[in-house]
Amino acid sequence: MQDAEKQKEFQIFVNTKPRKVPGPRISFEQVLAEAGINTAGQDLNLYDVEWVHGNRAGTLTPGQSVDLENGMKFDAGKSNRS
């Protein structure tokens, strides 16, 4: 944990693609940006952000953030189609 906190950059995956991001935390909005999603003029509540790391998993909503760890995977996108 000590090492992880000191670490400046984290290697993660966003929508399956590798990304290097600054630590120690990443926000909902940053994940969308890393996913290349243009949210200009869009309601952020249209998007879901999920993450997994090993057996752990969680969700982010607008304004929320999570502690980064190397190898974390994020999924970002909408779930409003039927």
Binding site: N15, T16, K17, G41, Q42, D43, N45, L46, D48, E50, V52, N55, R56, A57, G58, T59, T61, V66, K73, D75, G77, K78, S79, N80, R81, S82
Partner: protein, 394 residues
């Protein structure tokens, strides 16, 4: 229409002629008053029940097993016949009667399963053979009677697998009076496919959209080229398809708005499977206010252009009295993104979204057990994982 036999099959008639007390009750046939040895030297009486359905002279009575409303039969000296005769001692509700065990006794005779008369008298004789040593006059034959109780059913022909497995008490839970599906696109039409095969009395379909060739690729079943191009209302087409097997599908080729949302007020459950965010919001808020439980579904598929692959996620949000706050998590704004070129949909993801919703629905109405309550569920395809949102797993 549910069939209404006017004449008994000759095999059932023979049971009556031989003075058995016979009832046909929905998908079962019952012979009452069958003597058996219940304990050392004691003769008791109980009913033998078999799955039974007759249509156009063809009898269907399941496998060689029958249910029995008595206790495990004994020999005249009180030895249990459990190992000889009894396959199962789980108490089960069958044909409105409590069956205490299920018999499985294969006969040496090759004609035992030729007809229902042979099947039932095979078991009557087996029980009788032990009774005779105690009371030679005891017999299942008495006055000879028949009663036929037609079960009112929404189906044009019965699901014989339910009777065969003795699942009446489970199936009963699926008999909701009225359920609605709002939105009959890919996901909604798969929801209908599963719901139509449950004994809900009325399934109301709401959608103002028409069928086009592209939509057919996301629907269960297959349409002819003429059907795909005839621009029929989705709800009318689907009603006509599922009316082939049942009654009670109601088509409403309209969009739900402020003016007609009250039509959902007497629903026991509602599925929202719409694209339009404001409609989702209107319906969800109305249902939450009225205390009507519902499930909102949605999915998203995106390109990963570098890999020429797709990623996707599927969402099932279940809202009841204990999860009303989830209404605020639903995507209710109007999505400005182009709905034609950026709306990638694939049938298996529609189907998965629909079936996850159906399974959760069947948990909420007590058909499936729900050891862990999950009201917000996400499936992330690239991870092959189902995530429970809200119960933070970090």
């Amino acid at each position: 229409m549910p069939e209404n036999p006017t004449a008994l099959s000759p095999h059932v008639q023979r049971l009556v002629d031989e003075k058995y007390a016979v009832s046909i009750d929905g998908q079962y046939i019952v012979v009452d008053n069958v003597p058996y040895v219940s304990a050392a030297g004691v003769v008791s009486r109980a009913a033998i029940i078999s799955a039974y359905h007759e249509k156009d002279g063809v009898e269907n009575f399941g496998d060689h097993t029958v249910w029995f409303t008595g206790s495990v039969p004994c020999t005249p000296t009180g030895q249990s016949l459990a190992h000889v005769l009894v396959a199962d001692t789980n108490s089960t509700l069958v044909a409105g009667r409590q069956a205490l065990c299920r018999f499985s006794y294969k006969s040496e005779r090759s004609d035992t399963l030729d007809n229902i008369y042979n099947k039932l008298t095979h078991y009557v004789r087996k029980l009788q053979s032990y009774v005779s040593a105690i009371d030679p006059t005891a017999s299942a034959a008495g006055e000879g009677s028949i009663s036929v109780r037609q079960q009112r059913s929404v189906f044009h022909y019965p699901n014989t697998a339910v009777a065969r497995a003795g699942l009446d008490a489970y199936e009963e839970k699926l008999k909701l009076a009225k359920v609605a599906i709002v939105g009959l696109g890919g996901t909604g039409s798969y929801i209908l496919d599963a719901l139509a095969k449950t004994p809900i009395e009325q399934i109301h379909l709401y959608d103002d959209d028409i069928i086009e060739p592209a939509t057919v690729y996301r629907m269960p079943g297959a349409l002819t080229i003429e059907e795909a191009h005839q621009k029929a209302r989705k709800t009318n087409h689907l009603r006509d398809v599922y009316n082939r097997m049942r009654t009670g599908i109601e088509s409403h080729p309209v969009r739900i708005d402020q003016g007609n949302v009250h039509e959902l007020d007497d629903c026991r459950f509602v599925f929202i499977a719409v694209d339009h965010g404001p409609s989702r919001g209107l319906i969800a808020r109305h249902l939450a206010k009225k205390g009507i439980p519902f499930i909102d579904v949605g999915m998203g598929v995106d390109r990963v252009p570098e890999d020429v692959k797709l990623i996707a996620r599927v969402r099932v949000t279940t809202i009841g009295n204990e999860s009303k706050s989830l209404v605020d998590t639903l995507p209710v704004t109007d999505d400005q993104e182009d709905a034609v070129y950026n709306n990638i949909q694939v049938a298996e993801l529609n189907a998965l979204n629909a079936m996850l919703a159906i399974i959760v629905y069947k948990q909420k109405i007590g058909f499936y057990s729900e050891e862990v309550a999950v009201n917000a569920l996400r499936y992330v395809l690239a991870w092959q994982r189902l995530l429970h949102i809200g119960s933070e797993q970090a």
